[in-house]
Subunit: 196 residues, 2 copies
Amino acid sequence: MTRTFVVVAPDGPTTPDFSLDDLPGAGRLDVLCRCVSSALLRSHGIRERADIYLVLGGEFLLRFEGRAVRLLHPDERSTGALVRTALEQKAGAVGRMAVETTPGVHLQRGDLATVLDRPEGPVFQLHEAGVPVVDRAVPEDPVFVLADHREFAPGTTATLEDAGADRVSLGPTALHADQAITVAHNWLDTDGFVKY
Amino acid sequence: MTRTFVVVAPDGPTTPDFSLDDLPGAGRLDVLCRCVSSALLRSHGIRERADIYLVLGGEFLLRFEGRAVRLLHPDERSTGALVRTALEQKAGAVGRMAVETTPGVHLQRGDLATVLDRPEGPVFQLHEAGVPVVDRAVPEDPVFVLADHREFAPGTTATLEDAGADRVSLGPTALHADQAITVAHNWLDTDGFVKY
């Protein structure tokens, strides 16, 4: 089973001219770095069947591939450096061509619609107002779409509707995007919070 | 209901002479900063009924109090700065006296046994080899004890046994400490993964 996470970050950086000393100031890159860690890292290991896409400014897709990623550490700053290294090579992302900017990290031009064009499996929108996730069967190859630190823009919601996204909630408390990814993994890890 | 988290960090910093540019190099302070965020922050808000203690080097207790904390942001670096500011004032932590180093952040001398001396409620050790948490009733005022990035030392395990800690597992996948805190919150938020 593959687990795909997509974080839509309209304010996310699209150029490498930001400081690693101020990731929040770089379009809340701190949130995005934590999302990458939550999606791909577990204690002393990598989730090899997980991928995460960051949709940066509706312009670039940055994909971290669990089974191939290298140089990924849990702290925000080192992940921020991988993002910066990727954006330094954005001239290589032409048309639909992706450039591998460090091992297992791929940059291409595109937006949420590009990712959801042919999804691996069912698309879920993680949202506090959705249907409780416990009321859903545990899916094969799910694709989870999340907003970064803000609500989805209307255009994003329309794209999700076009993709037939199922809006599910992970609980009564609104979580940060990285926290939601962690809970979604736990839901799948435990086969719907039952199997340990 | 109060939720208390305790992260035991034998390598955690006990002096302020570390760089915010290298939190992993400061005894994996990056892990501890993420734990503070996971314990106290939710989307656009603070979990006012939650507290977290960092047990630094078996020497200092640094307590972040949900209902009083200020200046806490989700990114690691700013939390690292609060830890550094606290340790700059360690001369004020004499005997059992705590010093409030920034609003809602308290530093005192002590170790895990100090925290577990009179716990608010039942003590749980979060550990991948524990009893599945779904087999436990959702507790009142739980105290969750976690290791940072390493296994508990034998002395810590003995302290937990003395406190009657119940060893529970959050799933079959070993998680980072901050991820475990997020899942524990979700377990409580949903009243045992059932109520949304």
